[in-house]
């Protein structure tokens, strides 16, 4: 789905139908695994052929699980189980795992067993009396959608199966939703920043859906007065359900996440208003902006030289939408291409509002894939690209001076998690630009050997 600039570019034409894609996003099974692995003290059993275990490994890394604490299992289905059904082997594997010291075992089914009709819910119900931990079946075959759909499916299961009804609300409390639906490769720092903000405002986090979240917190989630969605890509359904089922009011809905000065100010102000902590919010804004400016005065970010440089943003909506304002306002570049991995209406509406407010009219691509990204880059020819390592390689042969890698996957390894949210987040993003700026000067051709 494309808007803005014409489709024809440099002798290439974009086929009208899209039956063949080169996706950025993984399948629903992967999203469900990411969500389940955010529950601490649990294990995950993939009811799947052994290849799907690699999707679990990817999710394991994304949630920064510790292999000494979290075990992942796989039923390793083969032809026999596809022909005759795999419920027996699932039951056997659950029994094999019965001595694990865990509070819950998430059983996630992949494409194969779902198509052949394995009923993982019934198997789990039948075996529940035999094991000490909670069995949580999550039917979430890859074909059910993207990883974000998988996150929504798993959140739905977790909330409906594990949350206990509780009429008593904890005043000034919140549950955080879908922090892991965020393409910052070290999104955990974004979550941590949010927690610090809430702590300072005196807002109690009842549960996080999900990251290192004990089962007991999930069970108690209905006592949260509010919910705070930390993604523009997934989790809205969970927030809606919590409101409908438990009256949990959503805070900060409809505004971009806190990346950049203005977005952070808006977001903190919204929280301050809801929790009656305006003064604290104002203090945080003043203090944060002062810190950023003072730091920049000392470090001199080279981003200041990129004034009105045509830029492209290729990312998930969670990072991509807030980046539009940050890139435009703080760094004074001109976004000429915004390509987002997702295409749901809420994402489109939020981006359109931002663009209108900034009086920008870049080419926008929703639900982009690698091919559409490359074609859009060919067409728009930005000078700076905010994206991932994939865009670094997709820009080969184009007059792109800098590819600033900000979303998964990125070339530079981070041992320390870095947030994009909030004020330190601004500095982290400046640092990404700065390092790329330095590399941008290096010539690949002009070399000679020193004599010594």
């Amino acid at each position: 789905m494309e808007q803005g600039h014409g489709k024809e570019a440099a002798g290439w034409s974009t086929p009208s139908t899209e039956q063949c894609t080169d996706p950025y996003l993984r399948c629903a099974f992967n999203g469900a695994a990411q969500t389940a692995l955010g529950v601490s003290g649990s294990a995950l059993l993939a009811h799947s052929p052994q290849g799907c275990e690699y999707l679990v490994n990817n999710a394991f890394a994304s949630q920064e699980c510790d292999y000494m604490e979290t075990i992942t299992l796989c039923t390793k289905l083969c032809v026999d189980e596809i022909v005759h059904g795999g419920e027996d082997i699932l039951a056997r594997t659950i029994r094999d795992a019965k001595d694990l010291p865990i509070s819950a075992l998430f059983v996630i089914s992949a494409c194969g067993p779902e198509i052949v009709g394995d009923d993982i819910v019934s198997v789990c119900e039948a075996l529940q009396p035999e094991v000490k931990f909670r069995l949580v079946p999550v039917p979430c075959a890859g074909f059910r959608g993207s990883q974000y759909d998988g996150i929504d499916i798993a959140l739905d299961t977790i909330i409906k199966r594990l949350v206990k009804n509780n009429d008593e609300k904890i005043p000034g409390s919140v549950c955080l939703i879908a922090p892991h639906a965020n393409a910052n490769p070290t999104w955990i720092a974004d979550l941590e920043w949010v927690r610090q903000v809430l702590l300072r405002m005196g807002v109690r986090v009842v549960a996080t859906l999900t990251h290192r979240t004990p089962l007991s917190e999930i069970e108690n989630m209905a006592s949260a007065e509010t919910s705070l969605l930390l993604s523009h890509d997934a989790g809205q359904k969970a927030a809606d359900y919590l409101y409908a089922a438990y009256g949990t009011e959503q805070v900060g809905n409809g505004i971009p996440l806190p990346i950049g000065l203005t977005n952070t100010q808006r977001w903190l102000t919204a929280l301050g208003e809801r929790f009656d902590t305006q003064k604290i919010a104002e203090g945080m804004v003043a203090e944060g902006e002062k810190m950023v400016m003072a730091t920049c005065r000392r470090k001199w970010p080279m981003a200041r030289f990129l004034y009105r440089t045509p830029a492209a943003i290729i990312a998930d909506a969670t990072v991509g939408i807030p980046l539009v304002r940050f890139v435009t306002e703080e760094m004074e570049m001109t976004p000429e291409l915004v390509a987002l991995y997702t295409s749901q209406r809420s994402v489109q509406e939020l981006l359109e509002r931002e663009l209108k407010s900034l009086r920008l009219s870049p080419k926008t691509v929703y639900g982009t894939d690698v091919y559409k990204t490359r074609m859009s880059l060919l067409e728009v020819k930005p000078r700076v690209v905010f994206g991932s390592t994939i865009e670094r390689h997709a820009c080969e042969g184009l007059p792109v001076a800098y590819v600033v890698e900000v979303v998964r996957m990125i070339r530079q390894f981070r041992m320390i998690n870095r947030e994009y949210f909030g004020y330190t987040g601004i500095l982290n993003l400046f640092e990404c630009v700065q390092n790329e700026w330095t590399m941008g000067w290096r010539s690949k051709e002009r070399r000679y050997e020193a004599k010594w």
């Binding site: 399948c27 690699y54 796989c74 198509i115 890859g142 390592t389």
Partner: protein, 473 residues
Amino acid sequence: MENDSIVFHGNLQQLLEKVETGEMIPKLQASHAPMCKFFTAYYVISGIRHVVPLVHGPTGCPLYMSDFVRTRECCEIRGVPLEPTACTALDESHVIYGGEGKLLEAVKEAYAKYHPDLIVILSCCCSGIIGDDVESIAKEAEKLVGCRVLALRSEGFGGDFRSGYEDAFRLIMDLMEPPQKKMKGTINILGARWGPSPTEFNWDMDEIERLLSEIGIKVNAIIAGGCTVEQIRHAREVELNASWCYDWGQKLGDLMQERFGIPYSRTGQPYGPEATKEWLLGVATPLGMEEQALEVIGREMREVEPDLAYLRQALVGKTAIIEISEFPGPIRALSLARMAAEFGAHPVVINVHPYTIKERMPSIRFLLETGVNPEIVLTKGLFRLGSFRSSKETEDELEAIVKEYDNPIFFGNSGRFPPCPVVNLTLMNPAFQPQYGFKGIKNIAALVRQALENKDLPRSRLFRGMLYGTGTR
């Protein structure tokens, strides 16, 4: 050996017999999960340049290929251009109504988008179960586009990881055209399978190519390690097929010999002087270039003589405990065992998973025929629930086993902490690559020297704690 943790203690021949009778297959379903057939088939196909591997399935299946193989391995590490990892992105409605129509359109679209030399449709679990006829679609689609379109049934459940490699190599044979001429003194190298770049580890392949070039032998194609469709078309014009590892090229080599009469040089991995010599002569002799090969071997042997002398002196009388836990497979462990024995050490191979023995029966039998039959020890930890990662249990078992042997030296990687010198043969450290051939001998000698001369230096408490938790020795 008295040790409760030992599940098997014998030699390779005895282990093979137990595996053949099904005695050594893990009982826990969730123990040890290597890649599925789809992944390994994809690996092979993506090793052809300008190919579109078109995955007929949901978007999860190309994940590993897209993130790890394409972007990180190929683009970032090996400097190859960004190649597509295309997918039909099947959803629930396709699962119900079938995805053949979508696939046909996807092939046409892939051709229009990427202008490839070849399109290979890879089926996965979804398309396999719902019965989409990928072969017929490939035939039909080929009439509509300007390149060959092949189909590979590679459902993840449809076979073990090895069957994916083998079926993909078999499919590649369909591209080989009847020879117009013979390319004198030219070979194919078979069995590469990690994206559009030569072999898993460039340095080893570079060493092989260097030695071949010294002898005057040319390489037509490395199949499928960055070869072109054109090179594959001419693959039958070579005089001989070879592989740097008998196991990797075995299936394709045997098939090409059977079907096209092209001989396949059966040799093991060129670790150490004897195996390297055998490898080179195994290629040069059938080509009538034995004399040139012997001259190169003589020159190279003189060059590494100080290293060989050091290795003999350093390893004679020692027990070489060999464990390959990184990219686990038995062939490398057995090749190292052979090399250790050549230098006068007694090799003991620890924890080669019976699953991997089962998957490599022909190659294991070949090694046995060539006299490789080392002592093998398997421990309980190998069969534990969970994935095949470094575990505290196998670490504890390794430490206990090492104490049972005289004068032990460990050949493995630095993720292990046995109470003896550790030769860090990791493939993740470019500082000591290649390990094949004569340059490999120099590197292995340097690694053994590091292990022995620095055996009393403290090991990392940090890395040990990271791998096995605190509270250990």
